[in-house]
């Protein structure tokens, strides 16, 4: 009973909000380019379903590419850094500088490097920059997170550097890597959309492009439809990675 109430509460609340919205728009005769009624949004979604879903998949694929690239780069650099404190001191400031620089500020530069004919590459590159930091940070922290007494145990039994890395540091880093990838996955989707706003030129037809297109034509209902699918995609991506993290952590510690 309690559980049913917990589950139904958000659904009822959203339904209530939508009803108020619908009634208010109808009663006040709000112009549809300013605020379309939920029914109009639904109609716009129905009309443009194929192209919206296609665009969403384009954005998703770009985000996943960005995540993969960021993951490989971040793990490789973190591993190098973990083996040498000097390397960490050298790399850290650059990584931080990269993180605090707004992605829109470096977009034009990445556009030039990617070549104006390849806007997708620019989008992937920019989203990868955004997704890089949480994975890198998690990996660096995780590789140092082993129990100090376990480190002493490895000292005691004369473990080699490779043994220590493979049997202690890497497995100890797993929870931190999972968390980093989960955060990075969300950021990669956001990064891909933002990057597309800046670099998109019709050559990369993701969701951001649909939003720009609809905005330029004052098709506000279609914008809402695109936003809706963007939101749903974000929630789905987050839920998927959350489930993956929960499952992997359970495997990792056996409970």
């Amino acid at each position: 009973m309690r559980r049913a109430l917990d589950l139904s509460a958000p659904i009822v609340f959203v339904a209530l909000l939508l009803s108020v919205w619908e009634i208010a728009v109808q009663a006040l005769h709000t112009p549809p380019y300013l605020l379309p009624a939920p029914s109009a949004v639904a109609a716009a979604f129905e009309q443009n379903r194929a192209i919206l879903i296609d665009s969403a998949l384009t954005t998703l694929v770009m985000a996943l590419w960005a995540l993969a690239i960021a993951s490989i780069a971040a793990c490789a650099i973190a591993l190098t850094v973990a083996l040498s404190p000097l390397a960490e001191r050298s790399v850290r400031p650059i990584a931080v500088a990269l993180q605090v620089t707004p992605i829109v500020a470096i977009a034009p530069l990445v556009n030039i490097w990617a070549g104006l004919d390849h806007p997708q590459r620019a989008v992937i590159g920019l989203a990868a920059v955004v997704a890089f930091f949480p994975i890198f940070s998690g990996a660096v922290t995780g590789l140092k997170a082993a129990d100090p007494d376990l480190e002493r145990l490895f000292d005691l039994y004369g473990a080699t550097r490779l043994q220590r890395l493979r049997r202690l540091r890497l497995p100890a880093a797993v929870p931190f890597l999972l968390e980093g990838h989960k955060v990075a996955a969300g950021l990669a989707v956001i990064g891909a959309v933002v990057a597309e706003f800046v670099s998109g030129s019709g050559g990369s037809q993701g969701l951001a492009w649909r939003l720009l297109e609809a905005a330029n034509r004052l098709q506000t209902a279609k914008m809402f439809a695109a936003l809706l699918i963007l939101g749903l995609m974000g929630v789905a991506a987050h839920a998927a990675f959350q489930a993956l993290e929960t499952w992997a952590l359970k495997e990792w510690r056996g409970r």
């Binding site: 007494d149 002493r152 145990l153 490895f154 005691l156 039994y157 004369g158 049997r167 510690r253 409970r255």
Partner: protein
């Protein structure tokens, strides 16, 4: 009968010794000057208040740290020293068997043999059936047993125990104490047992060293002249009570000195 230390005349093999060692960390002196000679087959308890450098002395004996001054003598070769920490210190991602096999595998013992010996060690501490369990699935006492199995799997000559019972309940504590005596009777390693519990020290050890508050020095040294493993009812014997009184008195004296 408990008497102040009189080293037995018989010449025994020294496993490890600290010679006037002093350890200072950034925040000041932590230990010493302190000396200790450890013979094969004896159980020595280090008793002292928190922060007196007991654990530091243990790390010196293990070769995990170097003294600021003084000398550490160790005759146990690599792999012949084992440490059991306050917490079980198991790898949370590895099964019981993998955790216990770790010291052997690090030393290059082939995996099948290492696992076979690890399984035997687990059975020895009455943990048969916990081979595939991860540490989170074990109770506190079971995890500590697994930790003990990992320490004894290499057949150590020097076994160092750093307050291994601190986090356990009384019943588990007594069980584990019996296990350690059983292990000692089977292989006769030298055991150093660090604790701040006087009764535990007297129950476990053939020789009790009382330390002063940090930086720890030797306050008193006494023998417990009772057979090991302890006979039934040892905890209520007058010998046990007297020894506990003497150690407590020495501890109190050290605190006020």
């Amino acid at each position: 009968m408990t008497a102040f230390a009189q080293m037995s005349g018989a010449q025994m093999a020294t496993v490890a010794a600290l010679q006037s060692v002093e350890v200072a960390y950034g925040r000041g002196p932590a230990l010493g000057p302190f000396s200790l000679r450890l013979e094969l087959g004896e159980i020595v308890a280090l008793v002292g208040p928190s922060g007196c450098g007991k654990s530091t002395a243990l790390r010196l004996l293990a070769g995990l740290e170097a003294p600021t001054r003084g000398e550490v003598l160790r005759t146990a070769g690599p792999g012949e020293t084992s440490v059991v920490f306050q917490a079980p210190t198991l790898m949370p991602w590895a099964t019981g068997l993998d955790n216990v096999a770790l010291p052997l595998e690090l030393a290059g013992v082939p995996r099948p043999q290492a696992r076979e010996r690890a399984a035997a060690a687990l059975a020895w501490v009455k943990l048969k059936g916990a081979e595939d369990a991860k540490p989170a699935q074990l109770s506190g006492g079971m995890a500590m047993r697994a930790s003990l199995a990992r320490a004894l799997v290499t057949g150590p000559r020097l076994l160092l125990l750093d307050e291994p019972f601190a986090a356990l309940d009384e019943i588990t504590r007594r069980d584990l104490a019996a296990d350690i005596h059983r292990l000692w009777a089977a292989a006769k390693p030298a055991i150093v047992f660090v604790t701040h519990n006087v009764e535990e020290a007297v129950f476990m050890a053939s020789r009790v060293l009382v330390m002063t508050p940090g930086p720890g020095r030797l306050q008193a040294e006494m023998r417990v002249d009772a057979p090991l493993p302890r006979p039934q009812g040892f905890r209520v014997s007058s010998l046990f009570r007297e020894a506990v009184e003497q150690v407590s008195a020495a501890l109190a004296e050290g605190m006020t000195a």
